[in-house]
Structure formats: structure tokens, C-alpha cells
């Protein structure tokens, strides 16, 4: 099948495509989210060590995964924008940053609320928690830097460089529990070995991960459509094709 992918690298053809994808992504997000909550609260058994408090993990772990994964995707788009000087790539990076920051905050927030009853403290300066906090600052720095530069091309370039440099933090977060002696426990799920938890717990975790993933796609596309409308306000195509403007 020959699809001309470069066709969709122009904002004019990507805008309607993104519009068609949003309802599907949102529907997948809501369905898997509801299923994940159901399995997480009514099917998964009580943890023999942590009691009910471990149910926080059903948002903590997927949010933490999303915070790192979204950063990688954001950096890839930003670097693609740097290399090929494509506006839409940089706009995708810009569109992902607030959602990535939100999931980073949620990972820290839910981690603190799990840590209090489990560790006896909301926060410790251990390597995992500190590097995740740095990730939040990287997202906020990226957003603030782009917002502070008026010229969109220069803003995209500066943001792209920041995203690229900050990428070094992602493996540090991921392997921090191995490299340093952290209070945060090691990974319960990895590619190297079978997961060490009940199948129902794993199912809830994966359903919520899928939900967050679909949600991120949906809101990033909503935001990139706003970015396109704002940057293309001089172009005639938006007045000819965008519903509500014709």
C-alpha cells in the first residue's frame, strides 16, 4: 500500500486528519480507563503486604511511564523539527509538553500519597524521586522557554535543543533504582523477566496505561490543532476548510 506520508507533514492536510483521529483516541481512552478502574477496584485482590493502598499504583505506574515515554516522543518530534526544519514536527513537540508535565506531576503526587502510608513520608530526596522532579522542571522549562520567544521558528529551535539535552535524564530516571541505593523499589515489570504480581493487577495496570496513552494522543492532537490554527491564521485554507470558519 503506497501512502504518501509526507502529505501529512503539511498543517493543511494534517489538521483534518487529526480531527478525525481525536474522537477515536478519546473513545479508546474512556473505554480502557473505565475497564481499568473496574479491574483495579473490583477484580484485583488486596495486596498481602500493602493492603488497599497499593491500588494507587494503578495510576502511579502508568503516569510515571507516560511521563518518560511522552518526553521521548516530544524530544523526537523536536529533533525532527530541528533537522528538517518542519513546523508541524515542532508543533507536535509543543503540543505534547503540557500533557507530559501533567503526567509527571500525577506520578509525583500519587507517589507521595502512596509513600506516606507505606514509607512514612511523602517525600525523600532519593535518586528516583529527584530525577522525576527534574523531569517536571524540564517540561516546565520547555514550555516557558517556548512561550518567552516571540518568533515561532526561534522558539521551536531553542525548545528543540532543550528537549534534546534533557533527554539524558530519561535513562537516569529509568535505571536510577539500579544505579543508586534508592528507597524507591526496583521495577516490578521489565522486559527481562516475568512480572512479579497477580495477573489481575497487571491487567489493571496495562488497561490504565492504554487509557493514558490514548488520552495523551487525543489531547495532543486537540492542542496541535489549536497551534495550527494560530500559526496559520494568515493562510487562506483555514477559512476555506475549517468548520465554523467557512
Amino acid at each position: 500500500m503506497a501512502i504518501n506520508w509526507f502529505k501529512y507533514s503539511s498543517p493543511a492536510s494534517f489538521y483534518p486528519l487529526a480531527g478525525r483521529m481525536i474522537p477515536w483516541a478519546m473513545a479508546v481512552g474512556v473505554l480502557t480507563g473505565v475497564a481499568g478502574l473496574y479491574v483495579g477496584f473490583f477484580v484485583a485482590p488486596t495486596d498481602y503486604q500493602q493492603g488497599e493502598s497499593y491500588r494507587i499504583m494503578f495510576i502511579h505506574v502508568p503516569a510515571a511511564w507516560m511521563s518518560m515515554f511522552t518526553y521521548i516522543v516530544m524530544a523526537v518530534w523536536a529533533v525532527a523539527g530541528l533537522i528538517w526544519n518542519t513546523r508541524l514536527s515542532s508543533m507536535m513537540a509543543t503540543a505534547l509538553a503540557p500533557t507530559g508535565a501533567m503526567f509527571t506531576f500525577i506520578a509525583l503526587w500519587t507517589g507521595a500519597l502512596w509513600g506516606k502510608p507505606t514509607w512514612g513520608t511523602y517525600w525523600v530526596w532519593d535518586a528516583r524521586l529527584t530525577s522525576e522532579l527534574i523531569l517536571l522542571f524540564l517540561y516546565i522549562g520547555f514550555i516557558a522557554l517556548q512561550a518567552s520567544i516571540d518568533d515561532p521558528r526561534r522558539a521551536a529551535r531553542a525548545g528543540g535543543l532543550l528537549a534534546l539535552v534533557g533527554l539524558v535524564n530519561v535513562p537516569i530516571i529509568y535505571w536510577s533504582v539500579k544505579w543508586w541505593n534508592t528507597l524507591h523499589q526496583g521495577a516490578s515489570i521489565s522486559f527481562a523477566k516475568a512480572p512479579t504480581m497477580a495477573a489481575e493487577m497487571l491487567l489493571a495496570l496495562l488497561l490504565v496505561t492504554l487509557a493514558f496513552w490514548a488520552y495523551t494522543i487525543a489531547v495532543a492532537l486537540m492542542r496541535v490543532r489549536c497551534e495550527i490554527l494560530e500559526s496559520e491564521r494568515q493562510s487562506s485554507w483555514i477559512y476555506e476548510t475549517v468548520e465554523g470558519l467557512r
Partner: protein, 59 residues
């Protein structure tokens, strides 16, 4: 029901986690819908203003 919400004594921590997450996700979608509406309104105002100027120039 009350037992479910108590979550074996962890209710506060669990519901603070879930409610803040839900609040953030719903708010983000609502803010984006409002942003889109605002942009479309502004663009259609610009467009109407341009058409208006064009008519005046012709008469």
C-alpha cells in the same frame, strides 16, 4: 459501600490520588475545548473585519 470508600483505612490517600488525576485530565480537555472556541471566534472576527474593509473599498 462505606467500607469500599474507607479502603481499609487508606481511603484518604487513594481518593486524593484518583480525584486529583481525574480533575487534571478533565480540566485539560475542557481548557483545550475553550482554547479552540476562543481561537475560532477570533479568526472569524478577523475574517468578517477583512470582508467589511473590502466592501468599503469598493463603494
Amino acid at each position: 459501600m462505606a467500607e469500599f470508600f474507607a479502603m481499609g483505612g487508606y481511603g484518604f490517600f487513594i481518593w486524593m490520588s484518583y480525584s486529583v488525576t481525574a480533575l487534571f485530565m478533565v480540566t485539560e480537555v475542557l481548557l483545550l475545548m475553550r482554547r479552540r472556541r476562543t481561537i475560532l471566534q477570533r479568526l472569524s472576527r478577523i475574517r468578517k473585519a477583512k470582508i467589511g474593509v473590502g466592501h468599503e473599498a469598493q463603494t
